[in-house]
Every structure is written in structure tokens, then in C-alpha cells.
Amino acid sequence: MKSDTRTDARPARVLVVERLSKSFGGLKAVDDVSLEVFEGEILALVGDNGAGKSTLVKAIAGAQPPDSGQILIDGVARQLNTPRDASVAGIGCLHQGLGLVDTLNVPENVFLGRELTTKLMNCIPQLDQTKMRERTIELLSGFGISLPRLNDPVVGLSGGQRQTVAISRLLLQDVRLIIMDEPMAALGVEEGRRVLDLVRTMSQRGISVIVITHNLEHVFQLADRIAVMKNGRLVGLVNAQATTRYDVVRLITLGKSDQGN
């Protein structure tokens, strides 16, 4: 691995993926992928539809264990069998399609799986709905958003509002690594820029971010490095400064760049 020689110069490796594979029937969705993510780094993961991006990050997020391969967090090999395992390991994930529960309201969605509780009569645990509501309002206002009806099921929200709700879930956790699978998909220009800012802020705080997007403009605005997948394989891993949009497109579509990889 070429980056090994540079390890000392670079920040610590937060995530190491070693020879990860995942098949569905005969289809190799992720095929022997190895990858590293450094502390505070923004890694853009790109590739055509069906390239295997979501499958790869699902394995890292504990949502869908791989068939083979290893995942190391801060140098320690981890068995991530459930989303909770990943969460405990400091990995937060915004899944493609957002993963909201339509019938729950905004605070319930934001806090699902990480509820705040109080004690009823000092002994019986119950939800602290007041506090969750207040925290939700805080989180959303951090995005410059105020939703008029926090108590209604989120099914009634617009695509962008839903996306903001899903993203604010990430801000609750104490994380080392955040994965965002197409976070800008349904957002307007303004909200999209806020997400870009958010990603940068996180990276400045030392949180690593893997962001999947089809928008190459966003990729070049954000990313330190760009990983390209095609047909389940990692076909390129390039420094954003040292490459061009043309090269990345070639990698995505042809699986090779001009330099002859």
C-alpha cells in the first residue's frame, strides 16, 4: 500500500477497510475493496449507479455485515454487526433514502435510538419529550430552519426538510467518522450550502467524513481525496488537488484515468 510510507506525515488513520467484499447471489456488489480514512479528512466516494458505494458504507455503518474483509477503527479491528455497534465505535451514518420513520414526528425521528429520558417519580425511566423538543429546535435552528409543526408526522415535510431532519441526527452523536450517502440530493441551493459548511466544520473539528454524491462540483468543493468505485471495485483513489474533473469522470465511466492507472 502506497500510503503506508506516508503514515507518519499524515494524521492518524481513523478508518481502515481491508479487502472488503460483499455479494448478493452471484453479484459482487463490493469486490475486494481496501481503503483508509484519515483524521479530519473529507473523502468523497463516487461512482455510477450500482457501483457499490452504498453497499460499502453500509458495511462500515454496521447496517449490512460484509462477507469478508476487516474494518479497523483507530487501529482496532471491529466486528460491526449492528448499527448500534457502529454507533458505539463512533461512526454516524446518514443512509441513502434518509432512513426516517414517516409516522413519527420530528423530535422522535431525530432522537430515535438515542432518546433522552427522565425518571418518573425518580425511578421509572420515561422519555423526556420536552428536552428532546428543545434540543431539536436548537439543532434545526443551527441550520437556519424552523419547522412549524414539529409534532406532526414527518411524512408531511418537504424533501429538503426531511433531509435536514435526517442530517441533524448526526449531530447528536459523539463521532469519529461520519458517513453521508447523498446528503445533498433533495436540498435547495441554500440548504445544500449549509450541508457543505457543516461537513467542513466537522472536518475542522477532526471528524472524518465520507460523503457519497453524484455532484462533482460538490466533490471538488469539499473533498481532500476522491475514491472512485466501478462494478464493486475501487478503481481510483486520488488527491482532489492533483486531479481534474475530466480524470474523475474517466475513472467513473471507464474505470481508468489518462495516466494509465
Partner: protein
């Protein structure tokens, strides 16, 4: 933070639309009650009203459990058979000399055990709840018949019949139990992590799983809870009439599920209301009572109940605008007409 703001927030947090539905149903019940009293004053006597509550008590208890099941996007068709199986076995044991208190504990344990099996099949073997509980419906009825086909058990100790026949300050014990069970259910449903997870699983199981909800474990717990509410309902039934038999509770699932659906809980899962369920059960009990007083026979009562269920679901679909054409007419008057006027202004 001062107390007024606090309470305002709490009230504000209740899902208003469903609250409204609960109030709507309550209004229907009150209007119908007034109508029935006008038709036949015998309906309105205190004794009869208490009778309605008592009749509804075990349905309320089991329907509270069913609200959790249906909200989790499940269904339990086996409650009637479970009541039969649990009561005949427990009755036999108690008559055979088992301490009545232990007998009651045994009923709850058996209910929980049955629920655990059902939940296991649903969550881990991935048998659809409809099919799994259809199996238990047949199987448990069969076991009840094996245990005591054609036998009529009766003669419980007084300590137990008090549960079904006693009263506190004129209020029958079954009524008190049913309201306590409903209050507990409402708390569990609305205020606890478990209740939230039940709604999350029913609303979007995959999203719940990705959020870290232990979906399988919660699903098993839902059926265990159902089993224990079923046992409590069975306890009330058997102590109220001081007897049981293998055919008790036949077709009970229809009444219970009807109460839940009339109450406004979504059959698609994800949301429900305990208050609505209680109101649904009361509405059914009241209708049956009125029909009995009017001398209408049992078969017609079933027909009426079927109609109520259909009407209730139609109304709730309308409100949720699942039927676009009708909803179009029911929607609030569009503001378009007024909003257009200013735009027209300059052109004059």
C-alpha cells in the same frame, strides 16, 4: 422554567390530529348515547351505563394490547383462543387445589409464554403475523378442546370472583381494572422508549433498525405484552361469570380488532391511540347494549358492528386523504379566490 410553559409544551406534544380523532369519536359516542336515551330511557339508567362499561372491560383490556400489536404493523388473531386455553388450564389447576394467587400468576406467565412463541415466529422465523397467529388461533383452540372438550368449569374461590364481580364504591372491579390497564397502556405507548420503538417498527422497520432499534427484540416484547393483556382479559371474563369452557372467546378477535380500528389506530402500522381504542370498545359495547335493549338479536349485532368498522375506516381514510376524489370536496375552502383579488387589482 415555569409551570405553565411546561404544561403547554406537554399538551402541545400530543399528536393533535389523533387527539382530534379521539374527540370526534367521543362526540359520536355522546350523541349516540343521547339518541338511545331519547328512544328508550331504560338505556340511560345508571345501572345500564355501568353495565355497558363492565361489558366493555375485558375487550378494552385486550384491545389495549392489540393496539401495540397493530401499531407495530402486526395483528393477533389468536386472542380468543388464547383466552380459552389460558382460562381452562388455569381453572382446572385452581379447582385442583392450586393457590388462587399462584393461579393468577400462572395465567400471566402462560399468556407471556404464548406471546413469546408468537413473537419468536414473527420476528425470527419471519412468518407474517397474520399467518402465525392464524396458526395459534387454531392450535390454542384445539389444545383448549383437548383439555376440556364439552366440559363446563365453574366454582371459583371468592377471592377470585371478587375480581369479576366485586365493586369499589359502586364501581365494578372489572371497570376499574380496565381503566387502570388503559392508563398504563397509554403511558407505555406515549411516554416510554418501548412505545416509541413499537411505533418506529410499525412505521418503517428498516429505518428503525438502522437507527439502532433492536427491532426483533421489541417485536417479541409486543406479543409478550399482548399475551399478558390477553391473560388479564381472560381473568376478568372467567371470574365475572365464574366459569369457563373451551369455546369461550370465539370470534373475540373480531371485537377486539374492531375496537382498535374504530379508535383510529392505523392497520398499516406506525401510529395508534390507546384513548381511541378505549372509545372504540365503548362504542361497540354501547351499540350492542342498545340493540339488546331494542330486542335485536345477536346476529344483527354482528352486522351492525361490521358496518361500524367499515364506516370508521372510511372516515379515517378520508381524513388522511387516501381517497383523493372525496377528500377534494372535504378539504377546506381554497384560499385561492381571495388571494387572486389583489393580483387582479392593477389590471382594472
Amino acid at each position: 422554567m415555569n409551570a405553565t410553559v411546561e404544561s403547554e409544551r406537554t399538551i402541545g406534544h400530543a399528536d393533535r390530529r389523533w387527539l382530534f380523532q379521539g374527540i370526534g369519536l367521543t362526540a359520536v359516542i355522546i350523541v349516540l348515547a343521547i339518541l338511545f336515551i331519547a328512544i328508550n330511557p331504560r338505556f340511560g339508567t345508571l345501572a345500564n351505563l355501568i353495565n355497558i362499561l363492565t361489558q366493555a372491560s375485558f375487550i378494552i383490556v385486550i384491545a389495549v394490547g392489540m393496539t401495540f400489536v397493530i401499531t407495530s404493523a402486526g395483528i393477533d388473531l389468536s386472542v380468543g383462543s388464547a383466552v380459552a386455553f389460558i382460562t381452562v388450564v388455569a381453572f382446572g389447576l385452581i379447582k385442583g387445589g392450586l393457590n388462587p394467587f399462584l393461579g393468577v400468576v400462572f395465567m400471566f406467565a402462560l399468556g407471556a409464554f404464548i406471546g413469546c412463541l408468537i413473537g419468536g415466529f414473527v420476528a425470527y422465523v419471519k412468518i407474517p403475523p397474520f399467518i402465525a397467529t392464524l396458526g395459534f388461533m387454531a392450535g390454542l383452540r384445539g389444545l383448549a378442546l383437548v383439555h376440556s372438550a364439552g366440559e363446563m368449569h365453574f366454582g371459583l374461590p371468592v377471592s377470585l370472583t371478587y375480581i369479576g364481580q366485586g365493586d369499589i364504591a359502586g364501581i365494578p372491579v372489572p371497570v376499574i381494572i380496565s381503566f387502570a390497564a388503559a392508563a398504563f397502556g397509554a403511558w407505555l405507548f406515549n411516554r416510554t422508549r418501548f412505545g416509541l420503538y413499537v411505533k418506529a417498527i410499525g412505521g418503517n422497520r428498516e429505518a428503525a433498525r438502522l437507527a439502532g432499534v433492536p427491532v426483533n427484540r421489541i417485536e417479541v416484547m409486543v406479543y409478550v405484552l399482548m399475551g399478558m393483556f390477553t391473560a388479564l382479559g381472560g381473568l376478568i371474563m372467567m371470574t365475572r361469570i365464574d366459569s369457563t369452557q373451551a369455546t369461550i372467546g370465539t370470534a373475540m378477535e373480531i371485537h377486539v380488532i374492531s375496537a382498535v380500528i374504530i379508535g383510529g389506530t392505523s392497520l398499516f402500522g406506525g401510529r395508534g391511540t390507546i384513548y381511541g381504542t378505549v372509545m372504540g370498545a365503548l362504542l361497540l359495547s354501547m351499540m350492542n347494549n342498545a340493540l339488546i335493549i331494542a330486542g335485536v338479536d345477536f346476529f344483527w349485532q354482528l352486522v351492525v358492528m361490521g358496518c361500524i368498522v367499515l364506516i370508521a375506516v372510511a372516515i379515517s381514510n378520508l381524513r388522511e386523504q387516501r381517497i383523493p376524489l372525496l377528500a377534494h370536496f372535504l378539504r377546506r375552502a381554497p384560499k385561492g379566490a381571495a388571494a387572486n383579488n389583489p393580483a387582479d387589482g392593477p389590471s382594472h
